[in-house]
């Protein structure tokens, strides 16, 4: 065997180890879109809560029942749009790189994501029932960050950094509940867009 054969041989090994254990069909562009949806959602929430005229400073807010319902529906709409976009674009990318979208790695990734996400979702429902609305934004950020950190084992390593940053923003939001919406917009909007851009540049 000559040098080129050997290097090719090691290339086969590397690509199989990587392909079999990491789901790499996540689309960077979908990250950017999801970030946009989150920013749009945050803007709508901001207008609904504070009106267009209010300032950007720290605020203690009191919100009524109908506003809470509006915010929950808004959050669910953003979530649904994000999931659909993410899955659809992952499917497209999977076809392009000839990886199937439902395989060992995507199942492992989903399971790793689901445990912290479902837990966080339930915690948020409990907060809403108990009326601790100001804890929702920070709880979502923290658990979403934990989910990403757990799932990062099965996909791009950039996801781990995204997760850690989300956790930090979430903890910050816990300290400064009045800035919850801003930190939420930064975490789900800005960070997703930056992450999506990096993945797009690097892998697509």
């Amino acid at each position: 065997m000559n040098q080129d054969d050997l290097i090719k041989e090691i290339g086969h090994i590397r690509s199989m180890m990587e392909k079999s254990s990491k789901f790499i069909s996540i689309s960077g562009l979908s990250g950017i879109l999801i970030g946009l949806y989150a920013l749009l959602g945050a803007a709508l929430a901001y207008i609904k809560i504070d009106g267009i005229q209010s300032g950007l400073d720290y605020q203690e807010r009191t919100i009524d029942k109908s506003t809470v319902t509006f915010l929950i529906l808004l959050a669910l709409a953003v979530l649904a749009a994000s999931l659909l976009t993410g899955i659809w674009m992952a499917g497209r990318k999977a076809r392009r790189i000839k990886q199937s979208i439902w395989n060992v790695t995507s199942r492992s990734l989903l399971f790793a994501l689901a445990v912290p996400l479902v837990t966080g979702g339930i915690v948020c429902i409990i907060w809403v029932i108990k009326g601790y609305y100001m804890l929702v934004a920070s709880t979502l950020l923290v658990f979403y960050g934990l989910a990403l950190t757990a799932g990062s084992v099965y996909t791009f390593k950039e996801v781990r950094w995204l997760g850690l940053l989300e956790i930090m923003l979430g903890l910050l939001a816990l300290l400064l509940p009045g800035y919850g919406l801003w930190l939420w917009a930064a975490g789900f909007g800005l960070l997703h867009m930056i992450y999506g851009f990096i993945v797009y540049k690097k892998y697509e």
């Binding site: 000559n2 090994i13 254990s21």
Partner: protein, 100 residues
Amino acid sequence: MALDLSLYDKVFENRVRLQVMSILVANDEYDFNSLKELLEVTDGNLASNLKTLEKEGYITVEKRFIDRKPNTRYRRTEQGKKAFENHLTALESLIRQQGR
């Protein structure tokens, strides 16, 4: 460094076997259909190479049924992992040898 060819493993000269072993070293277990999809090979080709690896004692086979469909899973053995690592070392030293 002396060229140590004793670590070179003829079993892994076949690309399918080498790739199957790479997958089973990177993952605790993998099923037949997922292997087939990843390697893009025919059932017969994959099955016969898996048989060889099993005979060598490099992998273990576990047959079960999920929704009444057969689902065969494969795992590496300690011996298989060791053989794979040795083979990598042999490839590395071959490259180093030729690089000089």
